[in-house]
Symmetry: D2
Subunit: 156 residues, 4 copies
Amino acid sequence: MSSNFHSEARLRVRYAETDQMGVVYHSNYLIWFEVGRVELMRAMGLQYKLLEQDHGCMIAVVAVEARYRASARYDDEIAVRTRIVTLRGSVMKIAYDVVRAEDDKLLCEGTTTHVVVNRQMEKTPLPEPYERAFRRLLEADKTQASADETQTIEEV
Amino acid sequence: MSSNFHSEARLRVRYAETDQMGVVYHSNYLIWFEVGRVELMRAMGLQYKLLEQDHGCMIAVVAVEARYRASARYDDEIAVRTRIVTLRGSVMKIAYDVVRAEDDKLLCEGTTTHVVVNRQMEKTPLPEPYERAFRRLLEADKTQASADETQTIEEV
Amino acid sequence: MSSNFHSEARLRVRYAETDQMGVVYHSNYLIWFEVGRVELMRAMGLQYKLLEQDHGCMIAVVAVEARYRASARYDDEIAVRTRIVTLRGSVMKIAYDVVRAEDDKLLCEGTTTHVVVNRQMEKTPLPEPYERAFRRLLEADKTQASADETQTIEEV
Amino acid sequence: MSSNFHSEARLRVRYAETDQMGVVYHSNYLIWFEVGRVELMRAMGLQYKLLEQDHGCMIAVVAVEARYRASARYDDEIAVRTRIVTLRGSVMKIAYDVVRAEDDKLLCEGTTTHVVVNRQMEKTPLPEPYERAFRRLLEADKTQASADETQTIEEV
């Protein structure tokens, strides 16, 4: 897994996800993105389910972008690699690479933008333990990025 | 429409509903059954949505049967014919014929069995206006059936 | 319908399309976009189905963007307004507004980018009758746009 | 896993699979049945994918039955237990138990009936290696069943 992704989820293409073109219907990648971000949270020791149950918070989707590079096919094993890009107050952006596990072929890359809302669908800050955990990942990235930069300079 | 069905809903097969066999994936018929029973209620002057909103009742599915006779294909116009079979307390059974509208070819026939539940998922009677409307349909059927029987005898 | 859209398709939100947030799950809008573009083609006297059957061509999705403005809810009647934005060789871009029919509330806007491919998933030009029909719509837009501009000047 | 099931597949409930009742929408169980039978074949050393690719055979669904016992909820881990019930020429019947993995709670039980077809959707016998492997499982069951019977007699 590329170092700048925070987690990887695995799934297998279901027959129901194919269409008569013989490949996965494109809207299913958005469902796989969701699998990716739920597993990212689980990898961080958090559960999206509890965010809803214990904090009354939901992470609504406000924007989606996807670029399709190659077709996923029935029974392919798929890896969804997920990375938090930004977190500003109630708004967060997450990026995904969907690859065929067998040969690491990139199938789809995309981002989703989210806003944290309460049960009345009003903007609300991400609850503290979640905010801290997400922040920690982003800080680790920055440290890594500046380390990479230093290294690049040294290599010259 | 065959006289013993209570309503007919129309829909068009979506690309997303096909699979790589080139036909509609079989689980989608259950979603079409649902379209059928919602339109049945609408034809009776009732709205399933309000049953949930105003009465806090939901009609949970407890059993499904489907027999597939022929394949629906992309862009086919589909008619879903729906009929109440029984209503006993909180339990009701509904039957469906899914046909290709163009030539009335039978694609799938099935039944769903439902139980009326409240928000705590406990059995509850169907609210009065709904119960009365459903009962009326079933009575009309019986009258029709006995009329048909009389006619059959006369024809002999 | 806003004058710069080329067609409008209607559909009703299915129970299966909702999620436990009580609103339509976001990936379903991509399926509705598809309903929009199929109906756009039908409004132009073309059938996507025949493009596949008669010409062996498919219109693959290579990119999707969607911005969610408000939530669609169960049983809402939905209008999908569709417009061709560009057509260059095998590549075309289509834009969508998904609105709640009742009050014209904008729920989602988006674009899809497509490439025309043959059965071997190789780029191929859009067959002539299709290309001509799409081109005609785009020309009509330009004429309209320049008419609008003239009018704006006259109004000053 | 109960001894009379031939395989078990695991999956996790996706947000997209829930509906506004807060539970999994009932048609999704049919998709999970399919996950179950594909994994059953994989456990037997067979791949459904290759049946289509190498033998030009498809296993069409001709009937489905499902009885819903309890609700699956978002993020539940699910076990799908699958068993071949009968195989007669081109027709086979498969049974499923869908349970919540955490506490083995039965959520849904069902059967699917299939017919093996070629690309022209005509009945065709199940190709030899597949037929033999399915037959072996059924024979093993019978031996087990008669052993169980013997044991029952001895216990008396």
